[in-house]
C-alpha cells in the first residue's frame, strides 16, 4: 500500500493533519514530520528521510508539504532516501485527506495517489 508523509513547519500541525486524514483511512500509514528538530518551527531533511522509511512498505510514498523549505527539504530527503517517493503539489491538509482515501483503493499507484492529492487544489468550499 502507498504510504503518506505529511511535512509541516510545525510538528503539531503535521500531527493534526495526519490525524484528520487517518479518520478517513485508518489502514493507510500516514507519518507526520515537522519542526526544526529543536522544538521550533522549520523542517529538517534527515527527519523527513526517516519518515519516508517509516511510511514505506515497499510500494512507495506520496509526500504532502506546506511551505517553502518543506518543499525543498522534502526534495532533498527524497534524493537521499532509497524509498520511491513523490511530492504532491497541493494543499497539505485537503491533499492529505484526498491522498489517504485514494491510497485505500485496490489499484492505487504512486501516480494515482499523487493525482488525487493534487486534485484537492480545485475543491470549492463555498
Amino acid at each position: 500500500m502507498i504510504g503518506l508523509v505529511v511535512v509541516s513547519h510545525s510538528e503539531q500541525a503535521a500531527q493534526g493533519i495526519a490525524e484528520v486524514a487517518a479518520e478517513m483511512a485508518e489502514e493507510v500509514t500516514i507519518e507526520p514530520v515537522g519542526g526544526n528538530g529543536d522544538s521550533g518551527i522549520g523542517t529538517v531533511p534527515d527527519d523527513i528521510e526517516n519518515a519516508l522509511t517509516t511510511a514505506d512498505d515497499g510500494d512507495g510514498c506520496v509526500v504532502l508539504v506546506d511551505l517553502g523549505s518543506a518543499v525543498m527539504n522534502a526534495d532533498v530527503a527524497i534524493e537521499m532516501s532509497d524509498v520511491e517517493a513523490v511530492i504532491a503539489d497541493g494543499p497539505v491538509l485537503e491533499g492529505a485527506v484526498n491522498a489517504a482515501i485514494a491510497a485505500t483503493g485496490p489499484n492505487a499507484t504512486l501516480e494515482s495517489v499523487r493525482e488525487q492529492a493534487e486534485a484537492a487544489r480545485d475543491i470549492d468550499k463555498l
Binding site: 521550533g40 518551527i41 529538517v44 534527515d46
Partner: protein
C-alpha cells in the same frame, strides 16, 4: 593537513563568527518580510558547521566543504539548509583536486546552478540569487577573460554581490516567504542576499589575511650569525 585544508577550515570558522555577529541584523531584515528566523538559523547552522569541520583530521578541501554543507542541511531547519547546505554538498565535488582557478570557477558555477535549481528562483525574484548571480558571473569573467588572480576576482565578485543586494531593495519578492507579502515586500533588502554577501566578504577577508601572512613569513630572515669558536677555549 595541507595549507589549503587549513585555509578552508579557517574560512568556515570565520563565516560562523561573522554570522553570529550579524545575527540581529539578519533577523531584523527577515522580520520585515519573512519569518524572522534567518539570523538564528544561519548563526546556529554555521556554528555547528565550524565545530564539525574542526573535528576532521587529515582531510581534503572537498571533504571540509561537504561536511560544512551536510551540517547546515541537518541543523538549519529553514530554507537556508537545502539552499546553502545542499548546494555546498553538491558543489564540493568540484574541489576534489584542490583549489585552483579552474576548480574555483567550477565550484562557484555548480553552487549557483544548484541554488537556482532547488529554489526555482531567478534574478529579480528578491532572493539570494540576486547577490549570487552577479558574484559568480563576475568571478568567472575576471579569471577567464580578464586573467586576474583568484583573490582579485573574488574582490570584484564581492563588489558585484554588494550591488546585487542593493538591487533587492526596490523590487518585489516572487519567491520565498516574502512573496506572500506581494507589493509590501518592495523597499526591503533581502536577508538571503545579505547573508550571501556576508559569506563572500568573509571568504575574501580571511583569504587575504592568510595570503598576507604567507607573504610575510616567506621573506627570508637573515640567518643568525654563529660566533666563531674561541680558539682559546
Amino acid at each position: 593537513m595541507t595549507e589549503q585544508t587549513a585555509a578552508v577550515k579557517a574560512v568556515v570558522r570565520a563565516i560562523a563568527e561573522r554570522l553570529e555577529a550579524e545575527r540581529e541584523h539578519l533577523t531584523d531584515l527577515d522580520s520585515a518580510i519573512g519569518d524572522a528566523d534567518h539570523g538564528g538559523n544561519m548563526a546556529r547552522g554555521w556554528a555547528e558547521a565550524a565545530t564539525a569541520v574542526e573535528d576532521l583530521d587529515d582531510t581534503d578541501v572537498a571533504t571540509v566543504v561537504k561536511t560544512a554543507g551536510r551540517t547546515l542541511m541537518s541543523e538549519v531547519g529553514g530554507a537556508s539548509g537545502p539552499l546553502y547546505g545542499g548546494s555546498l554538498v553538491f558543489a564540493s565535488a568540484e574541489l576534489d583536486d584542490g583549489l585552483t582557478d579552474e576548480t574555483l570557477v567550477a565550484f562557484a558555477e555548480t553552487y549557483l546552478e544548484k541554488v537556482t535549481d532547488r529554489g526555482d528562483a531567478a534574478v529579480g525574484d528578491q532572493t539570494m540569487v540576486d547577490a549570487l548571480v552577479p558574484a559568480v558571473h563576475t568571478f568567472k569573467k575576471s579569471i577567464e577573460v580578464d586573467d586576474l588572480p583568484a583573490i582579485e576576482a573574488l574582490a570584484k565578485a564581492v563588489d558585484a554581490a554588494e550591488r546585487g543586494v542593493a538591487f533587492t531593495v526596490p523590487i518585489r519578492a516572487s519567491k520565498g516567504r516574502a512573496s506572500y507579502l506581494g507589493w509590501r515586500s518592495v523597499g526591503h533588502q533581502d536577508p538571503g542576499a545579505t547573508s550571501t554577501l556576508f559569506i563572500l566578504e568573509t571568504l575574501l577577508a580571511t583569504t587575504r589575511e592568510r595570503l598576507d601572512a604567507d607573504l610575510a613569513s616567506s621573506v627570508d630572515a637573515t640567518s643568525p650569525v654563529t660566533p666563531e669558536e674561541d680558539p682559546e677555549a
